[in-house]
Structure formats: structure tokens, C-alpha cells
């Protein structure tokens, strides 16, 4: 009996605690390592994961990159995609699922194909990150193709408040720019080119508002 089966796992005489088991009854039909021919893995995915595994002394190291590949192909880490990756990697789907569910950028539930992560951590919060998140949510309302979420520090406090849109950073953003960005995403246009982090100069090379110091 695994601990998941109930509070009495270490002592068979204790009653099983319903609160512990409810909602997470273990899958009795849990499978071992699936065979490649059973899972219908697309050739390109198989090749990609095999290339990834070859980069490491131990093939297990390819689990996060393999899940990235699954997510890229299917839009999220689908159960089928995870089984396919598991068959190629010779690990159980449960193993890959446990890895995928640990990381914020890997989605084990369906999400829109465009992903907008708005930072709400300290520096962005001080400069209006919460309002920016609300603005993005409002602008994306009703469109299943857009996934908007608040996110912990993205490492771009210099452009606070900021958002990561399809894995690229933009900021500092005004709340009103959320609608502009979403319009550009839908139209397939470049998103807020003037707010792209890649185009920013070093802070010390910009005009100095502080003058000679205090």
C-alpha cells in the first residue's frame, strides 16, 4: 500500500482517511513503459527526442527538452504526446508527467497557442504589474487562442511592468498597450517592436535623468 492510499498506510489497522484519497485515487491501470509501435509517435518527434538524448551522458536528462518538444508540437503536454515521448525515452509516462507538472512553463492542461505571462512580482508590482495583468486579461477575454497568466519574476525588472509574449520580453508597458499587443498578435504583426527587450540599449548608455547624484 502506498502512502497515497490512505493515512493508515504505515499501520494497516488504521482506517483509510477519505480526505487523503479523495480526488487522487491511484490509477490502477497505470502502465509501464509503452512500446513505440503502440503510441503512434510522429517520426519528427522521435528523431528530435533521440537527438536530444544523445546530447547527455544519461538519457533521462533529456526529459525537460523532450517535454518542450512535445509542447511545441501539440501546443501543450498532451497525455498522448507524453506517452510518445515516454516510449522514445524508455521511461514511464508517469515519470514524464511528474516532471511536467513541476515546471510552470510546461502545461499539462490545454492552453491557447499564444502565451502571455505578465510579471506581478515586487518590481513590476510597484510599477503597475497587477493593472497590466488585468488589462491583458480583459483584452484577451473570450479568445481561446490566447492564454494570459500572472507570473513570478521573469528577470526583467529593468523594464517593469513587463510581459513575456510567446517567449519574448516587452516593457515597460502601459495598461493601454495590452490591447495593442493583442491586436498585433491576432493580425500576425510584430508585437510592440519599440518595447522589445532585444532592441534596448544598456541602461548606462541612455540619457541620465539623475544628473550628478545626490
Amino acid at each position: 500500500m502506498s502512502p497515497v492510499d490512505g493515512a493508515g498506510s504505515s499501520n494497516p489497522n488504521l482506517p483509510v482517511d477519505i480526505a487523503v484519497t479523495e480526488g487522487r485515487v491511484p490509477d490502477r491501470a497505470s502502465e509501464g513503459i509503452p512500446e513505440l509501435h503502440e503510441v503512434g509517435c510522429p517520426e519528427e518527434l522521435r528523431e528530435r527526442i533521440e537527438t536530444l538524448m544523445a546530447r547527455y551522458p544519461d538519457r533521462h536528462s533529456a526529459s525537460i527538452p523532450a517535454l518542450w518538444a512535445v509542447q511545441e508540437l501539440y501546443g501543450w503536454c498532451t497525455p498522448e504526446g507524453i506517452r510518445q515521448a515516454a516510449a522514445v525515452m524508455r521511461v514511464t509516462p508517469g515519470y514524464l508527467e511528474s516532471v511536467a507538472s513541476f515546471y510552470d512553463l510546461l502545461h499539462t492542461e490545454r492552453v491557447g497557442s499564444h502565451r502571455i505571462e505578465v510579471c506581478t512580482n515586487i518590481s513590476c508590482w510597484m510599477r503597475g504589474g497587477d493593472e497590466l495583468l488585468d488589462a491583458f486579461k480583459a483584452a484577451a477575454e473570450g479568445d481561446d487562442d490566447l492564454f494570459v497568466t500572472g507570473f513570478e519574476c521573469l528577470g526583467a525588472c529593468d523594464i517593469a511592468p513587463m510581459a513575456s509574449i510567446d517567449q519574448r520580453y516587452y516593457g515597460p508597458l502601459e495598461a493601454a498597450e495590452a490591447g495593442v499587443a493583442i491586436g498585433q498578435i491576432k493580425a500576425g504583426e510584430p508585437v510592440l517592436p519599440e518595447k522589445d527587450l532585444a532592441a534596448r540599449p544598456l541602461a548606462g548608455d541612455t540619457a541620465n535623468p539623475g544628473g550628478a547624484g545626490a
Binding site: 546530447r55 547527455y56 551522458p57 544519461d58 533521462h60 536528462s61 525537460i64 527538452p65 517535454l67 518542450w68 511528474s98 516532471v99 513541476f102 515546471y103 510552470d104 512553463l105 510546461l106 505571462e117 512580482n121 515586487i122 518590481s123 508590482w125 510597484m126 510599477r127 503597475g128 497587477d130 493593472e131 513570478e152 519574476c153 528577470g155 525588472c157 529593468d158 523594464i159 517593469a160 511592468p161 513575456s164 517567449q167 519574448r168 520580453y169 516593457g171 515597460p172 508597458l173 495598461a175 519599440e194 518595447k195 527587450l197 532585444a198 532592441a199 540599449p201 544598456l202 541602461a203 548606462g204 548608455d205 541612455t206 541620465n208 535623468p209 539623475g210 550628478a212 547624484g213 545626490a214
Partner: protein, 444 residues
């Protein structure tokens, strides 16, 4: 032109996009000449000695001597590894992002030389998954370095091999903790390991492993090229060298500035970052990322060095200053901080998992006006019971700033409690912050 108060060593020529390419790196800063010198003319011990003599301290947070760390690796025929920690996720820190984006080859050359010091044949850059642009830039730079023979087998004809893999994480702050990073790199959930054994003895795949931060490794080529004495010419005795400092929050010109360690903190916040917006004053600042105990304006004249920050009861950490101006409510900032660590706790150790959870709940009660002053004592005691009681310091990273805020700003917490009924919406406490200041929009 860079601000004259900056001392650009790691960021030398970083304004030039050509620096990203192998040709540009060679032309602008004489790149890869040091790796050639080290591989052709130097023994492992000579490189180690230079690094140890330089006094270079780890730039990731702990500030441990890089040379010493490398010397802990045992000698012998076993496979050894080098991991570059590029999982920069501490709120307030964004310096490694800049270094990788603008000068990826400096890091690669640093890794190649450090691998010689550690006798590692396999190296990894573990970069956070969010840094997609920087990972693409590194991928391209690594490919160039392989092509030019600075990585791969029989490098420069010196019978040394080094494989370098850029490994993207997938969003978990805990993976910046070095043993959690190793688990993630081995393809597992990023849970920290019990120490000892330390990674230098038993790390990646059970082999001896040297783990260093991006900025630490980026310092290596110049130290080996110009010598330990040259490096010690910058900074203070105990904090030699320059440091890329990330400054953000309530300042007019947030960004990364490279300065000599030991520069007055005031010069960083007021001189380089422009100080608080007109009409406002500084209320508190985190000197070394969100896990450092906050300091007050009375401490602005301290030198910005590892030792001065430690003496003031805080830490330099990753070198990331977050400034809170007079519009910021400290109890709300404490809650924001605690929520982050609660979200990022991996859940392995009870004091951290439960401590971060209850700290968030208690701070929510405080800002809702449902707490009593006694709750502040309970919050403080919970923090004390987290510190030093877990496998890693994630819990401590919440406990240190939260307990400092309660201790230093207790009257403000009590005032919030007394004014019961104020809404949880932090936005209301920041009504005066109207979007980013116009100076920030400046682009090339």
C-alpha cells in the same frame, strides 16, 4: 557613452551588437586568446592558483571563493562536470540575462577555462526556460565556438575535450539552488538534495561537479589573461573585482550597471539609477535581491560590498537592488515577497512548505486588518523556525526579508492592523504610481 561612474569590464563594448558573434568578440576584446593561452601553456594548477589568488567570489548569491570551490574537486580519472547556473530567477536580479544576451562568448570562454581548472570534460549551461532569446543567442554562440574549434574534441590540438550543452529549464525558481539544478539537469523534478556530499564531491550523475554562476564564469577569461593582481585592483580587499548590479523598483533609471565593488550604495541608487522619482523618497531597499533583509535610507552610505552588507545584517547576494519609495506599503511588499517563496517552495521540507504557506496567510490577515499585534510576533517566530531547518535556503530566503520588514517597520504593520477593513487590493496603496516614467521608454 557609458556613465563615468561605471567601470565596464564584463560589459566592455557590450553596447556593440557585433560582440555577440565570434568574430566581433575576437576583434573587440581579443576573445579566445586567453583560452588558447590556458590550453597551450598552462597547467590545471596554474589556472586554479590564478583564480584562487584573485579572490573572485561567486556572483550567484553565496559569495563563496570561486577558486576554492574549484579546488575542492577530487583529482582522478572519473568523469567530472561543470555546470553554469544561468537559472537567474531571484526577484530583482537580471544581470545574467544582460551578460548572456550581449556577450555570450565571454561566458563560453570562461566555461572552457574553468573546465580546465576543474578537469571537466562535459559542461552545461542551465538557463531558465523564460530566457528564450538569451538561450537562442547562446545556442548560436556555442555552435560558432564548436565550428572554430574552441569546443569539442582535441580542442586547439591540445588533446583536451569539452562538450558544452545549453539546457533550458522550464520555470522553477528552486532550480537556481545548485543541488536542485543538478536534479533538474538529470531529468527529474527540481528538488534540492541533502548536503553533504557537496556537488564538488558528488554532483551531476554522481560525479564531481563545479557549479558557478554566469557572472562568476564571465570573469574568468580576464582574470587568467591579466592576472590576479590586476583583478584585485578593482573593488575592496574582501570583495575584489567589478560587479554588474541590477537596480529596479522606485528609481528613475532602472537597469544593469557595472561598478567596482565597494562603491557607495547611494552612488548606485542616486547617481547611476537616478534616485527616486521627483517628489518621492526612499523608504527601504533590498540590497541583494528579494531574499536579502531590507535596509533603510540610513544605510544608503554603506559601501556596496559583500562585507559591508553582511555587517549591516543583510547581504549582497546576487547584487540586485530593489528600491521601495514612500508610496509602497511595507506590509504589502512583505506579502508579495512571501507569496513568491510560497509559490516556488518545492514542498520537500516541512518548515519551508508550511512556513511559507502560513506566512502568506498571516500577512493576508494583516493587510485585511484581521490580525492583532500578537500575530506579528507569531509571524516573526515562524520565520525563526524556518531558518536553518531545511535542505536548502529557499525558506530562509523568505524568512530573512519578512522578519527584517516586521522588525524595522513594525509601527507600519501595527497601523495597517489598526486601520481594519482596508482592502486586500494592493493597488489601492499604489494609486499614485501611474505607469512607467517616460524616461524608461527610451529605445534605440
Amino acid at each position: 557613452m557609458p556613465d563615468p561612474r561605471e567601470t565596464r569590464v564584463l560589459l566592455e563594448h557590450a553596447e556593440d551588437p557585433a560582440l555577440r558573434t565570434l568574430d566581433g568578440y575576437k576583434r573587440l576584446v581579443g576573445g579566445y586568446a586567453t583560452q588558447e593561452k590556458a590550453y597551450r601553456e598552462m597547467e590545471q594548477d596554474e589556472v586554479l592558483k590564478e583564480l584562487e589568488d584573485s579572490g573572485l567570489r561567486g556572483r550567484g548569491g553565496a559569495g563563496f571563493s570561486m577558486g576554492k570551490k574549484a579546488s575542492f574537486l577530487p583529482r582522478g580519472e572519473m568523469a567530472k562536470y561543470l555546470c553554469c547556473n544561468a537559472d537567474e530567477s531571484e526577484p530583482g536580479a537580471f544581470k545574467d540575462r544582460e551578460l548572456m544576451q550581449r556577450n555570450p562568448h565571454q561566458l563560453i570562454e570562461g566555461i572552457a577555462i574553468a573546465a580546465l581548472a576543474a578537469d571537466a570534460g562535459h559542461a552545461f549551461i542551465f538557463i531558465r526556460g523564460e530566457y528564450d532569446l538569451q538561450a537562442d543567442i547562446l545556442d548560436a554562440a556555442v555552435a560558432e565556438a564548436y565550428e572554430a574549434g574552441y569546443l569539442g574534441t582535441n580542442i586547439l590540438g591540445c588533446h583536451r575535450d569539452l562538450e558544452l550543452v545549453v539546457h533550458r529549464g522550464a520555470g522553477a525558481y528552486i532550480c537556481g539552488e545548485e543541488t536542485a539544478l543538478l536534479d533538474a539537469l538529470e531529468g527529474k523534478r527540481g528538488n534540492p538534495r541533502l548536503k553533504p556530499p557537496f556537488p564538488a564531491v558528488q554532483g551531476l550523475y554522481g560525479g564531481p561537479t563545479l557549479i558557478n554562476n554566469v557572472e562568476t564564469l564571465s570573469n574568468v577569461p580576464r582574470i587568467v589573461a591579466r592576472g590576479a593582481e590586476w583583478f584585485k585592483g578593482f573593488g575592496t580587499e574582501q570583495s575584489p573585482g567589478t560587479k554588474v548590479v541590477s537596480i529596479s523598483g522606485g528609481v528613475r533609471r532602472p537597469g544593469n550597471y557595472e561598478v567596482e565593488l565597494g562603491i557607495p550604495t547611494r552612488e548606485l541608487i542616486f547617481g547611476l539609477a537616478g534616485g527616486p522619482e521627483p517628489g518621492h523618497e526612499i523608504k527601504a531597499f533590498y540590497p541583494g535581491g528579494s531574499s536579502s533583509p531590507v535596509l533603510t535610507p540610513a544605510e544608503l552610505d554603506l559601501p556596496y560590498s559583500f562585507e559591508a552588507m553582511a555587517e549591516a545584517g543583510s547581504m549582497l547576494g546576487s547584487g540586485s537592488i530593489i528600491v521601495a519609495d514612500d508610496r509602497v506599503s511595507i506590509p504589502h511588499m512583505a506579502l508579495r515577497t512571501a507569496r513568491f517563496y510560497h509559490h516556488e517552495s518545492c514542498g520537500k521540507c516541512t518548515p519551508c512548505r508550511e512556513g511559507t504557506n502560513w506566512t502568506v496567510k498571516m500577512l493576508e490577515r494583516v493587510v485585511r486588518g484581521e490580525a492583532t499585534p500578537m500575530d506579528l510576533d507569531i509571524i516573526s517566530s515562524v520565520q525563526e523556525n524556518i531558518m536553518g531547518h531545511c535542505l536548502c535556503v529557499l525558506g530562509d530566503s523568505m524568512a530573512m526579508p519578512v522578519s527584517a520588514m516586521v522588525r524595522k517597520f513594525r509601527p507600519e504593520f501595527e497601523e495597517v492592523i489598526a486601520n481594519a477593513g482596508s482592502p486586500l487590493e494592493e493597488a489601492s496603496h499604489l494609486a499614485a504610481v501611474q505607469g512607467p516614467p517616460e524616461t524608461l521608454g527610451a529605445s534605440v
